[in-house]
């Protein structure tokens, strides 16, 4: 690995580690104590409650919390569907784009509501500025805030003192949603968006600009309010770019510095939430154990992609090409291999899905890592909120397995893990492959899916990646699909919705059943969940579950492609 790649990794880990505690403490204050800035942000918060008729002092049980989340998601999805369909008649449409077709509007509305941001359209040739800002970036805030709500609810369920007299509530969805936006996402987005604008990220309502290039050719520059959307797309681990090329586009991500900040933004809230969780559990070591497990898996992924992409592209083998820069197909010169590898690792560790280079053109093992990262459940820091509730489900599974090994009833933070929680955790973990594998198989045989751009095993990887990315609510793509075909718009829309809500509901149900349990003091036989041993066991469980589930499919895709590429085969 090059010196720059190592320095970049050190700087990245240092920045994340240094931000985790202060931001984690800030988040704790926002949700669990007295929120800061009462005169400004507090006023805005109270205004939101007044306008929506919410009483912030009430708490909800898991069912009311879940119903609130589902209702809000359904209505906001309808809202976006309506905006996209009607954009021709709405303002901020300087290019005069027509309304979005029904199946594409459904796919896009589902995609942004579920925090996936899979994009079957090209923003610059499909979406008006209003559709981008109000239809899509709006969801970047709300879907991230909803995910944070579920994470908080599960953390409360695990950490609150239960008992016969204690209320079995998990907080208030409206309050968690509002506070996530008002205290966390909105102010930080505003500041970073201005910094991005100073670096060359667009922020204008002017129409596209036609100019004549130095050689006298006409070029039309697509413009728009990009910076405001760019920041929340990263910070909310959403990933839907203003432009088709996403963060590879120089108007979204003009310099290596903006690129580094974009990657930091993917991880910063999920990392901080591990600290918040530790604070709620009254033991910071609980949070750092999760952080450590995540960090180890992140570094492994980064190492493999960097190594794989520094190798030459096998399709170019034997041609008179100097590939000392590594595999540059689909990568930007300003980022090169290292900064692209960092972005690709983080965006798929988390459920972000933004890209600054094309994963489809990665070398076989370089492309394997993003796919595996998503398939492990996006628990390596993970999505905003989704990462914490995802890893907590794996924590429950790990505690259960450890309990089986030593023959004791499994406990987490002193609360017994019983059959109901294990069933729910199993549903959570199984729903993902149960969606992805049959749908991929269907796409491989159904003529309705259309052709894939790449033949051979890479074509199968493209299908597998699409449904994995959809159900995992990631949104990055290997692309190469005929993604505007109804098979894909509808199929992926359903994949995303089921992947989001059938994982989030079991997580909330676990919270609901855990919150009432009395926590007992740890005894000599208690398996501690806060040390290196537990962190290592957690990593092992995540890897074993992932390997058992996905290895056969991966063998037919990227792994066989790696060996065929080594033998000089092209398709």
């Amino acid at each position: 690995m090059s010196t720059a790649a190592i320095l970049q990794a050190i700087a990245f880990v240092a920045v994340i580690a240094l931000l985790t505690r202060p931001l984690g403490a800030y988040l704790y204050r926002v949700y669990e104590a007295r929120p800061p800035f009462p005169a400004t942000l507090g006023r805005l918060e109270r205004l939101c409650y007044r306008l929506s008729g919410v009483d912030p002092s009430t708490e909800q049980g898991w069912v009311a919390y879940a119903v609130s989340l589902l209702l809000f998601s359904a209505l906001s999805m309808l809202g976006t569907y309506a905006i996209l369909r009607a954009q021709a008649g709405l303002p901020w449409n300087p290019q005069g784009f027509a309304g979005v077709a029904p199946d594409l509007a459904f796919n896009t509305a589902a995609s942004f509501t579920t925090n996936t941001n899979w994009q079957s359209y090209s923003g610059e040739s499909t979406m008006s500025y209003l559709s981008q800002s109000a239809g899509l970036a709006w969801h970047n805030f709300t879907s991230a805030a909803a995910g944070m709500g579920v994470a908080l609810a599960l953390a409360r369920g695990l950490t609150r003192h239960g008992g016969p007299d204690s209320p079995r509530t998990l907080g208030n969805f409206w309050v968690d949603l509002t506070r996530s936006i008002v205290y966390v996402l909105l102010p930080s987005s505003l500041l970073i968006a201005l910094f991005f604008a100073s670096q060359g990220v667009l922020q204008t309502l002017a129409p596209s600009l036609e100019l004549t290039t130095l050689e006298g050719v006409k070029q039309v520059l697509a413009l728009g309010p990009v910076a405001s959307q760019e920041v929340i797309k990263q910070l909310g681990t959403n990933g839907g770019g203003f432009f088709n090329a996403n963060s590879a586009h120089p108007f979204e991500n003009p310099t290596p510095l903006t690129n580094f900040i974009q990657v930091v933004m993917i991880f910063v809230i999920p990392a901080a939430l591990t600290w918040t969780y530790g604070r709620m559990a009254r033991s910071q070591r609980q949070g750092w154990a999760l952080f450590g497990a995540m960090l180890a898996l992140f570094l492994a992924g980064y190492g493999v992609i960097t190594w794989a992409e520094h190798r030459p592209n096998p399709a170019l083998a034997g041609l008179a090409v100097d590939q000392s820069a590594g595999n540059m197909e689909g990568k930007e010169v300003r980022f090169g291999v290292d900064a692209t590898a960092l972005f690709a690792t983080a965006t798929t560790d988390a459920s972000c899905g933004a890209v600054n280079g094309m994963h489809d053109s990665f070398n076989p093992l370089g492309g394997l890592v993003p796919l595996v990262n998503i398939q492990l459940g996006e628990v390596i820091f993970g999505g905003v909120g989704a990462g914490l509730y995802g890893i907590l489900v794996f924590v429950i599974l790990t505690v259960f397995i450890a309990g089986l090994m030593v023959g004791r009833t499994p406990e987490l933070l002193g609360k017994k893990i019983e059959p109901r929680e294990m069933k729910l955790a199993t549903i959570y973990i199984l729903i993902f492959p149960l969606l992805v594998l049959p749908l991929t198989a269907w796409a491989a045989v159904s003529p309705a899916a259309g052709a894939v751009a790449n033949a051979g095993p890479h074509g199968l990887s493209e299908l597998l990646y699409a449904f994995t990315s959809g159900a995992g609510n990631n949104g990055s793509a290997f692309a190469g699909l005929d993604a505007t075909k109804p098979f894909w718009t509808i199929g992926l829309g359903v994949d995303m919705l089921l992947g989001r809500f059938f994982m989030l509901l079991p997580a909330l149900a676990i919270a609901g059943s855990m919150v009432g349990k009395r926590a007992v003091e740890p005894g000599p036989g208690t398996f501690p969940t806060d040390g290196w041993l537990f962190g290592a066991l957690l990593v092992a469980v995540i890897l074993v579950v992932g390997a058992l589930t996905w290895f056969p499919a991966l063998t037919l895709g990227p792994i066989v492609e790696h060996y065929l590429a080594g033998a000089g085969k092209v398709f």
């Binding site: 700087a11 936006i181 050719v217 697509a222 586009h249 120089p250 399709a315 590939q323 398709f571």
Partner: protein, 215 residues
């Protein structure tokens, strides 16, 4: 109505109202505020980083690549944005995988063409000159890929090689903060610098004569 139905109805009303409130706040007020402030503080950057030639004519954006085919100009990478490449309304990469026969054929054709058009170039073709970027709008080349073209530019402009190399070296940007990203050369800015120092390039070859503007 049962109690559950009443509660659900109340939640529905709250959901509808909060949907509107968040839409107004994050979907309209926020982007408008950012636009206003960005235009006030960083107008030229936020409006596209446009570049003018010596006559004050806008010839492009510093950040968005454009095609060049004249031998006296630095040529950019192949572009997969749009049919002919370099179309900012169709940004994107080729999405060709590492075992793609199409990719191999494309690169092979580009290598043969580049070698023919750059007979004095040193060594094999640098990878970026035959690989398309992720955006299709990459404005940069690595210093090596720029210097590789210098003999062709020097002979087209009838200048000493050193003078061309000097302009390229001067325009080379290092890694950000010393370790982020890669060293690079902005193709449009270098070509403007050539014109500024040495006079306008001989007119480009007629469209279609070479493939450098497309794949």
């Amino acid at each position: 109505m049962t109690r559950d139905a009443t509660v659900t109805l109340a939640l529905l009303v709250q959901a509808a109202r909060l949907t509107l409130v968040t839409l107004l706040l994050t979907g309209l007020a926020y982007p408008l505020l950012v636009t206003g402030l960005a235009q006030l503080l960083f107008s030229s950057r936020a409006s596209g980083s446009l570049v003018e030639d010596a006559k004050g004519r806008v010839v492009g954006s510093e950040l968005v690549g454009q095609g060049f085919t004249a031998p006296g100009y630095l040529w950019p990478r192949p572009s997969a944005a749009g049919e002919k490449g370099w179309d900012p309304l169709a940004s994107g990469g080729s999405n060709l995988g590492p075992t793609s026969a199409k990719l191999r054929a494309r690169v092979q054709a580009d290598v043969e063409r580049l070698q023919k058009e750059n007979p004095a170039a040193p060594g094999p073709v640098p990878a970026e000159l035959v690989t398309s970027s992720g955006s299709g709008l990459d404005p940069h080349l690595s210093p090596a890929a720029a210097r590789w073209q210098a003999p062709r530019i020097a002979s087209a402009r009838g200048l000493a090689l050193e003078r061309i190399l000097a302009v390229i070296d001067e325009a080379t940007e290092g890694r950000d903060l010393g370790f982020l990203g890669e060293p690079r050369v902005n193709v449009l800015l270098v070509n403007l610098a050539f014109d500024h120092r040495f006079g306008a390039s001989p007119r480009p070859a007629p469209p279609g004569a070479t493939g450098a503007e497309g794949r």
